[in-house]
Amino acid sequence: MAYISYYLLTSALLFSIGLGIVVTKRNIIMVLMGIELMLNAVNLNLVAFSKNDPSLQGQLFAIFVIVVAASEVVVGLSIVLKAYEHFKTVNLDEISELKK
């Protein structure tokens, strides 16, 4: 079974869906969800390629991607809370200036 082609297809689908979410949705939290989905799609490829690899380099890379994604979402959410406190909205189109 050429399993890897199906993994590549699944991850391509998930990556495109994540990109569509990032482009269309205007709620900051939905955009963060789209970014998480794209990072996960990339992880799926890394894990699929590291099958049968005795040194598991792809899986280790995926672990570091998970770490970076976790810290990204933490900092992103605290920035979102700060922006909400200032602008009273989470619509990205209405947050268009750096300071008031």
């Binding site: 079974m1 495109s16 869906i17 990109l19 949705k25 099958k51 049968n52 598991l56 280790l60």
Partner: protein, 172 residues
């Protein structure tokens, strides 16, 4: 049998990702993202990454999604409470551009993946071995070959913790 399980998990993650794309309710999107991550954890386990599957469930479902739902709750300003419901809705723009960009990206990725012969390359790199637990290998690798990225990610996590704590304090 394993093909059926793979198809089930792949369909689960793709369909619930589509739900995230198509729904306007932020909370529904968060919960269907949870199902997506569960399906991807299943896909990891099928391909032999048991530790990573569990880490996916712990980090994404236990951590990141809870954080996202907290974010939804803390930034909920104008729900639809007056109509007897309390949905938190998101607005959509650039529907056409989004569709074009996403379809174009999928077409590009599909083209590359179909032309690339990745399956043959991967099969020629590694011989088929029976699946076994990966936790020991991952621990050994983290402490030997990958010790520098391991330490750097510790510093990164601490920087993220301090940065988030600093950003979310109220300062006048």
């Amino acid at each position: 049998m394993i093909q059926l399980v793979f198809i089930a998990f792949a369909l689960l993650s793709v369909v619930s990702a589509l739900v995230v794309l198509l729904t306007n309710n932020v909370l529904y999107a968060a919960f269907s993202l949870l199902v997506t991550f569960l399906g991807m954890a299943g896909l990891y386990v099928i391909v032999g990454a048991d530790f990573l599957g569990v880490a996916q469930i712990l980090v994404y479902i236990g951590g990141i999604l809870v954080l996202l739902i907290f974010g939804v709750m803390l930034t909920n300003q104008k729900g639809t409470k007056s109509q007897g419901r309390n949905d938190i809705l998101t607005e959509n723009t650039n529907r056409v551009i989004g569709l074009v960009v996403a379809a174009g990206m999928f077409g590009l990725l599909y083209f590359v993946f179909s032309k690339g012969h990745f399956a043959e390359v991967q099969a020629s790199l590694f011989t088929d071995t029976p699946l076994k637990a990966t936790t020991q290998t991952i621990g050994l690798q983290l402490m030997t070959d990958f010790v520098l990225p391991f330490e750097v990610s510790g510093v990164l996590l601490m920087a993220a913790l301090l940065g988030a704590a600093y950003l979310s304090t109220k300062q006048k």
